[in-house]
Structure formats: structure tokens, C-alpha cells
């Protein structure tokens, strides 16, 4: 079987495993959608709030489906010896990781799509004004957060503690990056931290793509910050990579 066909096989197995893992399906799909529905219901009549919320939850979804998922999954695969086992088979490394990462990318796109559809159909938020910008920020967000998640997995000592490591970063990040309310309302100190971290910039990009419509040119600063985090994440992800504990 060719390397491409093997990557496809791995991707299909990863999809199957994803749907058989209740907590993965919950945290990647159900939780963001539930939060969206709950918070949106509160502000259902406030169009301005919804214009903040839909890009915010879309950005949170990107982080959950890539950063969180990579950190959990790689820690698990390493602890279980599955990575080591795969390395001993003729499965090409590139095919294996293409299938593995592809699963996460698929989740990210599906989830962002769901958020936008729910926002439009249920809450009457307009369709994205700039689809190209939406796709660009999704791709850049997936790469950046995926790489950072892989890098984080290198620092997690075992699967039992993975949840603590991931949420210690994920929960503060969504609180200060303008997921549920505009980050303009934050105290200056927190706003400055959010400005350095990547999530706010994904959300800014989504906000312009969905609501603002000024185009990619207006968000080059956000792209630059994401590119810097992406480069750092890829460097750490590759350098620290271990096949086994």
C-alpha cells in the first residue's frame, strides 16, 4: 500500500477512535456547542454580543480540537507504547502522522463550520463576510495550536496529569482572549497578556472574517503573532519529540 493510502487508512482509524472516545467527542464538539447555545441564549437579542460570541467560540473550538487534543492524545499514545509500536512497523512515519494530524484538522474545520452554521441559523448572525480570511485563520490556527499542543505533550509526565496541564493553559486562555465577551473589557494587565498569546489573534481574525469584513490585509498583525507562535511551536514539537517514555 502506498504512503498516501496508508495515511488515509490511519485517518479513518483515527476518526473511528475519535467517535468511540466519549470525552474527546464531548470536549471537542459538545462542550463548545453547549457553551455557545447557553451564552448565546442569554444575549440572544443583543446582536453586538453575538458578533463577539460567534468568532470567540469558533476560536475556542480551534484550540480545543488541536491544542488540547494533541496534548492529550500524544501523551496517551506515548504512555501506552502505541507510538513505539507504530515505529516498529513498516507504516511510514509521515503517513502515520498525516492520518493522526488529519483527524484533528478535520475536527477543527467541522467544529468551526458548526459554530458558524448555528450562529447563522439559530441566532441570525450573518454568513461570514470573507470566507477566504476564515479559511486562512483556520489553517494558521490549526498549525499553530496543533504544534503547541504537540510541544506541550513533551512536558506532560503522564496521562493522568494531562488534564491539569491542558486546562491550566486552556481555561485562562479562553477567559482572557475574548471568547465570551469582548477582550476590550479586560483590565490592562490581562489585556496585555492576551495580546501576547495566540488565541486572541485567531479570534480577531475570525471576527473580521465573519463580522468586520475588512479583509486579510487588516489582520496582518494577528497573522504575524500567530506565525511567530507557530514557528516556536513547530520548533519545540520537533526538537522535543520522543517515541517512548
Amino acid at each position: 500500500m502506498s504512503g498516501v493510502a496508508l495515511a488515509w487508512q490511519q485517518f479513518r482509524i483515527e476518526r473511528k477512535l475519535f467517535w468511540r472516545n466519549p470525552s474527546a467527542a464531548f470536549f471537542s464538539f459538545i462542550l463548545p456547542l453547549t457553551l455557545l447555545l447557553l451564552v448565546a441564549s442569554v444575549f440572544a437579542d443583543d446582536g453586538d454580543e453575538l458578533d463577539v460570541l460567534i468568532p470567540g467560540v469558533a476560536g475556542m473550538s480551534i484550540m480545543a480540537t488541536t491544542f488540547n487534543a494533541m496534548a492529550y492524545n500524544l501523551t496517551f499514545l506515548r504512555e501506552q507504547g502505541i507510538l513505539k509500536r507504530m515505529r516498529g512497523t513498516p507504516m511510514p512515519t509521515v503517513s502515520y502522522f498525516a492520518g493522526f494530524l488529519g483527524n484533528s484538522v478535520a475536527n477543527a474545520f467541522v467544529q468551526v463550520g458548526l459554530v458558524i452554521v448555528v450562529g447563522h441559523v439559530v441566532y441570525d448572525v450573518s454568513w461570514p463576510k470573507d470566507w477566504f480570511e476564515l479559511v486562512v485563520f483556520t489553517v494558521v490556527g490549526v498549525v499553530t495550536f496543533g504544534a503547541l499542543g504537540i510541544a506541550l505533550s513533551h512536558a506532560i509526565p503522564n496521562f493522568d496529569s494531562a488534564s491539569a496541564y491542558v486546562n491550566a493553559l486552556f481555561l485562562p486562555a479562553i477567559m482572557i482572549s475574548g471568547v465570551f465577551y469582548s477582550s476590550d473589557a479586560l483590565p490592562a494587565g490581562l489585556a496585555a497578556i492576551a495580546e501576547i498569546l495566540p488565541l486572541k489573534h485567531v479570534i480577531d481574525g475570525y471576527s473580521d472574517a465573519i463580522v468586520g469584513g475588512q479583509g486579510l490585509g487588516s489582520e496582518l498583525g494577528a497573522l504575524a503573532v500567530l506565525a511567530a507562535w507557530g514557528a516556536l511551536g513547530i520548533t519545540l514539537a520537533v526538537r522535543g519529540f520522543r517515541w517512548q517514555d
Binding site: 496508508l6 487508512q9 482509524i13 477512535l17 501506552q80 502505541i82 509500536r85 516498529g88 512497523t89 513498516p90
Partner: protein, 287 residues
């Protein structure tokens, strides 16, 4: 056995920092042979096997596995080798059939999925998820995952550790079947009876070097050898001898002369365990 050995190891060395775990190890494994690698913990068994499997790089020495240098991790070699690792799981949410079927796709000429599952006796568990299998069944799944590619050479690292006696016997049956299929097997084990029963030849490793090598039945301890014992006045008397023929003749002759029976007479051949304990005694004492 064809001309080229399945595994050739010559003056293999591996250091971790200041610690030299393998110190000039040499052995060969012929095609179709079941070869046992024995030794106490820390003797360098796992390091050696992981170098042969391509997981670790050697510090120096020559290694050939099916004619390849495993360090180069060529796909052609990995297609011809099956690896059963110590304590390596698989996706717990895949069924046995899904797991074996998925692994089969990575190989050019795999066994039929059902055939690999039957080979390890997991047929009735085909639709059970890996995470729901007992410990022994999971080890058999490991074996099926290593065998489904129909490899020429199989590495079995401690394949029966944690098995109950019945499960061990079943695993031994699988290894015997592999031999019948002309597979080459490199077996590492703590269990000397296992090596004695399964292996055509063994190498005993201590402190990173081979201290004895040969068919288990040819390895004899330097002191004693056969043990002859019987009961005398309710107490067991034991003699050790290189050749029991003469001793037995004398003992039975004397007993007959006295008109007595030799109660509880036992003649024990030296076992691999005797050799092993003698050769590794020093290492154990250091612990």
C-alpha cells in the same frame, strides 16, 4: 537453514553516558532458529534487542538483521520483521479484528486477518475491544499484531511475563507453531524453563557480554552436573557427579547387597537454571 544468518552481532557496544550497558557482545541466530537471550535485569538484554529492532543506535560494533543494518530503519527490513514489545498497548477502543486488520495494511504480503487471530487463539474475541481483554489476551493480541505481516523474523521480549501457567503453555504453543512455519524467533525471557523448552540455542548475558552460548541441553555447569539423591533414614542424601552411570551402579549395588531399596531415588540432569545461576551468581550477589 540458509547460508546467511538471520541475525549477526559482532562486538556490539552501547554506552549511556559513562555506563557501558553492552560491552562487546557477539552472537549469531540462524534462519529458522528459536534463539533465547537470557540474563539478569540490567545485563543488557533489552538494550541489545532494541538495537536489533532499530529503536536504539549502537555505540560501536557490527549488527546485521536479515542482511540489513537496523539502525538505517529501512522499510524493507521492517516489512520482514515482527516485534512484540514488553508492555506496549494498542488502541484500546479498537476491536481485535479492527486492530489486526489495520496493522495488516502496512505490510506487502500479510496473513488474512482471521488467520493471524486464530494463530494466537483469539478467534472468539475478534469483536471484543482491546481494552476489554484480559492481560494474557492482550499479550496474544500483541503477538497477532506482530505476526499479521507474515514476518521472517520475530522478536519476542518477555512474551509470557505475568501469564498464569495455562496462558504460558498456550503462548509456548504459539512459539512452537512459529518454528513449524520456519520463522526465526529471538526470545528474551526471565523464565529459564521457557528458554529450555522453546529455544534451539540460548545465550546467557551478564554485564553486557555473552558468558555462555549453545543448545540448552549442552550447557552444563562446571561443578557437579547430574544430581543423584535418595532417602536414607528419612534424610535426603545428594551426590553430584559428571557421570551418573558409575555412581548409580555403586549405589544400587550396595543397596542390593544390604537387601534394601533406595527410597526416593532421583536422578536430575543439570538444568539451564543450574548453569544460569552459576554464571550469574556474581551479578546477583552484587545486588
Amino acid at each position: 537453514m540458509s547460508a546467511a544468518p538471520a541475525i549477526e552481532v559482532s562486538d556490539l557496544r552501547k554506552s549511556y553516558g559513562d555506563l557501558e550497558a553492552v560491552r562487546g557482545l557477539s552472537f549469531e541466530v540462524g534462519r529458522g532458529e528459536v534463539f533465547g537471550l537470557l540474563g539478569p535485569n540490567g545485563a543488557g538484554k533489552t538494550t541489545t534487542v532494541e538495537i536489533l529492532e532499530g529503536y536504539r543506535r549502537r555505540s560501536s560494533g557490527e549488527v546485521r538483521v536479515l542482511g540489513h543494518d537496523p539502525e538505517r530503519r529501512e522499510r524493507d527490513l521492517r516489512q520482514r520483521v515482527g516485534i512484540v514489545l514488553q508492555s506496549c498497548g494498542f488502541y484500546p477502543r479498537l476491536t481485535v479484528r479492527e486492530a489486526v486488520g489495520h496493522m495488516a495494511k502496512a505490510y506487502p504480503h500479510p496473513l488474512a486477518t482471521e488467520e493471524a487471530i486464530d494463530l494466537v487463539g483469539l478467534g472468539e474475541k475478534s469483536d471484543v475491544r482491546a481494552g476489554k481483554l484480559s492481560g494474557g489476551q492482550q499479550r496474544r493480541l500483541d503477538l497477532a499484531l506482530a505476526l499479521v505481516g507474515d514476518p521472517e523474523l520475530i522478536f519476542l521480549d518477555e512474551p509470557t511475563t505475568g501469564f498464569d501457567p495455562a496462558a504460558r503453555r498456550e503462548a509456548w504453543e504459539v512459539v512452537r507453531r512459529l518454528r513449524e512455519l520456519d520463522k526465526t524467533v529471538l526470545l528474551t525471557t526471565h523464565y529459564l524453563d521457557e528458554a529450555q523448552i522453546l529455544a534451539d540455542r540460548v545465550a546467557i548475558i551478564k554485564d553486557g557480554v555473552v558468558v555462555a552460548e549453545g543448545p540448552p541441553s549442552d550447557l552444563t555447569p562446571e561443578a557437579g552436573g547430574y544430581r543423584v539423591s535418595y532417602l536414607s533414614g528419612g534424610r535426603r542424601v545428594e551426590h553430584q557427579t559428571e557421570d551418573p552411570t558409575d555412581l548409580l551402579h555403586r549405589l544400587t549395588g550396595d543397596a542390593l547387597g544390604r537387601g534394601e531399596r533406595l527410597e526416593g531415588l532421583e536422578v536430575a540432569r543439570p538444568t539451564l537454571e543450574d548453569v544460569y545461576l552459576e554464571l550469574t551468581a556474581e551479578a546477583e550477589a552484587e545486588l
